[in-house]
Amino acid sequence: MHKSFIFHNPSVLWFLLALALFTMAVTVLSEAFGVGLVSTSFVKTLGKTLCLCLIAIAMDVVWGYCGILSLGHFAFFGTGGYAIGMWLMYARTEGIVAASLEGQAIPPTPQEISDAIGTQIFGVVGSSEFPAIWAFADSLVLQLLMVVLVPGLLALVFGWLAFRSRVTGVYLSILTQAMTLALSLYLFQNDSGLRGNNGLSGLQNIPGFEDTSQATISMVFFLVSAIALAAGYVLFAWVMSGKMGSVVQGIRDNEARVRFLGYHVESYKLFVFTLTAVIAGIAGALYYPQAGIINPAEIAPIASIYLAVWVAIGGRGRLYGAVIGAAFVSLLSSWFTGGGAPAINLGFYTIQWTDWWLVLLGVSFVCVTLFFPKGIGGLFDYLVRKPS
């Protein structure tokens, strides 16, 4: 079974090979494990980009394969990040508090320790009580479970409500957008229990590895992200290659016809929606320790729309297209907005790319939609077809 799946999808092998080569190259060039040509901050950028690629293939499956234009997948990405962020922040603060209470004449009571941690974490929003959602924050295992469960359940409930009432097309897109908007607005409140617009911070410090250098930590995260991307890629390629994949693509092309053939369309859609949400949550859980901070602005509707932009530019309906789109656009974006691109002097006006990058992106996005609906990934078709 497995063999035949790879045999039918040579692109999976090519992708894994490329990813492995890329990972090895970065490892060899890194500060931690190699010659030190690639800076730690760039390793972090690359690691984060790999996580974005992971959520991009999830988006590709839900949109490119199943035809659901979800404008809310960053909500799942964010909840995954918040779930792991709660443990990171709690465990780290616990360490700091324990160290500060060490020297006192009388050992602290458990209540005093928890009060001190609460004050440390929630002082910025004028509170010191632990909200109920932090009940499992002291356990890494449980919070890792949350990374999967929270986005999964959210997607399950939302998807069940939406699909059973046959909300489709643009309506569904708007509804998913409303969901992520509602979530981010909720998190923006100070009494949401997740520090309001301050978000969770200091996530780059991994509890238990205080003595390990950031260079090593970021390299480890980079490698884990690469493995996660590879695993996610193989998983999606496998799911989409079988009969299940055919039904899902059938739903994309003509939902009514698939339903008339006797398939329970809603279940398939719900499965795809939930699975991709879980993968998005995992991607988020890997992304935010590398970013160091998560706040509600990250899951504003615009983020999910950018996700759709990456997938569209990269090429829908092919997983490598999504990877290319996410990597290409996000790296290009940070190059342009980070001031990396040289300003162009037109004589009468100087084009500063920090100002004009979004205009360029918007226009090129329109052009891609109009003229290259297959995106960058579509170029590979020419490569493959040429010999024949």
Partner: protein, 650 residues
Amino acid sequence: MHAIREAVLLLSLLCLSVMPAYAQSDAPLQTILQTHADEVAKPGRRSVSVVLDDLDASGLPNVLPFLEAWQEKRIWQREADGVFFLAEEDDDDLNLRDIDTGAEDTALKDGFSQVKPNGGVRRVIATALVKFQLTDPDLDRRSTAVAAIARRPDANQLEPLLASVDREVDAALKARKVQLANFLSARFADSTEDRIAAIESLSSDTSIEARAVLNQILETTSGVAAERPDVNIARILTPGTDLSVADAYAQLVDAELAPAATPSTVIRAALEANITNGSVAGIPTAELDNDAARERAYAALATDGLVPPLVTSSEQSKAADAAVFYEAYKEKDAAITDVAARVLEEVEARVAFAQTVDLGLDALSLASIYFLAAIGLAITFGVMGVINMAHGEFIMMGAYTGYVIQLFVPDYTLSILIALPTAFAITFAAGVTMERLVIRHLYHRPLETLLATFGISIALQQLAKNIFGTQARPLTSPAWLDGAWVISDVIQISYIRIAIFVLALIFLVLILYVLKRTRLGLEVRAVTQNPGMAASMGINPDKINMLTFGLGSGIAGIAGVAIGLYAKVTSEMGADYIVQSFMTVVVGGVGNVWGTLAGASLIGFLQKGIEWFNPSNTLAAQTYMVLFIILFIQFRPKGIVALKGRAAAD
């Protein structure tokens, strides 16, 4: 020169001092003042009232200017004979004026001393002045006096106020005086009957002032006692439900009815202070990491007399239960507070009703904004099945058009009149261009239209940022739109909101007319229902699509001008409205003006309603609203007004 003047002065002084009879007949005010010379020169808060009573009794016309001058420290006393003058300082000289005759004179400052009443006295004088001012022939002065009383109500103003009511000729001021007299007698009248009558009369008054009067009568102080005290008790508080046990016990401690509590921090500090050889009262410090062990150690210390006794939480709640916590009215008479409480309840019921009306007006204006913002979107979505993500940017474009026109046309009324059609024209052109260049090619791919228009949206937004900068630009409304229509203290609505409501109404009628009564509308409706059939009847769907898109965008431009008038114009303003507009369209149903109206009303009223429940948190309001809409879609997936029959097919 000086010598002569001094000689003249001396002479006149001599005249005055030797001829009191002259003063008595021709200078009645000076005479009264001279009888109280000490009190006038150095008035005390108590002694001054004697002078004021005499002045009042005299009924002289020049008492008022004297009191004013006295209050403003413009009275000087000649040291030689103690005569008082009205005087203005002029470097070293004084311009004197006789208090009775008004005869003017100049003298050196030396030899005179200024009468400087202190702050307390000046207030007493001011109160006395009120009486004169209340009956002053000048309307402005009377109004000022009434306003002064309203600002600082006082028991002894009641009498002069009541006295002045009958003689008042101005109807409005008379009504105000009666109202104010009511407020004053509710609080300060002598007899209980008068006060109760006054309080009763307040029941129909929903103004903030009337409520303040009632609240002042019902002012309470909280207290604690071992037994129920004999005061006018407002209510008895039960520890645990009305106030926390810890707070209750703290009150007991403050009232010295209980020994000080020993909270965990105190216990901890006491233990730390009593560590001997690594243990406290025989318990090793390492074992003191829980509250039970700490309390045991503290109790042991207490038996040794080293620390105050431990007050456990059960003892605290027992003590709190035994005591009586109460809120008592400052007003002693229970009859008055009973009536006031009942009247306040009635008034607040009226106020609540008025607030509901006010909230309804707010919601209505919000709904009209959403309607304006969403109707264009609804038309394009309904006719073409196209979601225009750049709709918000058309709103922004309209607002910036208004801003730019105001740069060139300084007259605000004129500039708004120019801006409305110009904004329509510009966004109409932009819409048609966009339709021709982009959307036309994507008709069979609606999801991709969504993305392409999103691309246009981010490009336009950034473009606006590059041109106009990130800071908000003002779009000033004409002066006749400033201010608000005040119906009562509670119900008021700003003119801009009324204008937006009227604009929305105009557009509702206009769009309904175009769609139902014109050839274009007929064709638009035909294309909405079945483009293929419409085409076979000789309608050019391409042209209709283009015009519809232009129309939708043009209305967005006008909405932009309207929104810009009361909100700031920024490059992100479109994004603020786009999601709400989508919600409006989705909730209302596609392709129907009434649906959009229903959607906008539902969302507007819902948002205001939720904000009313939780006024401090508008973010939560938006969250709940979005959740509601997600649930709403469950029950009416096609919106409130859904198309029926074949037209409803996707």
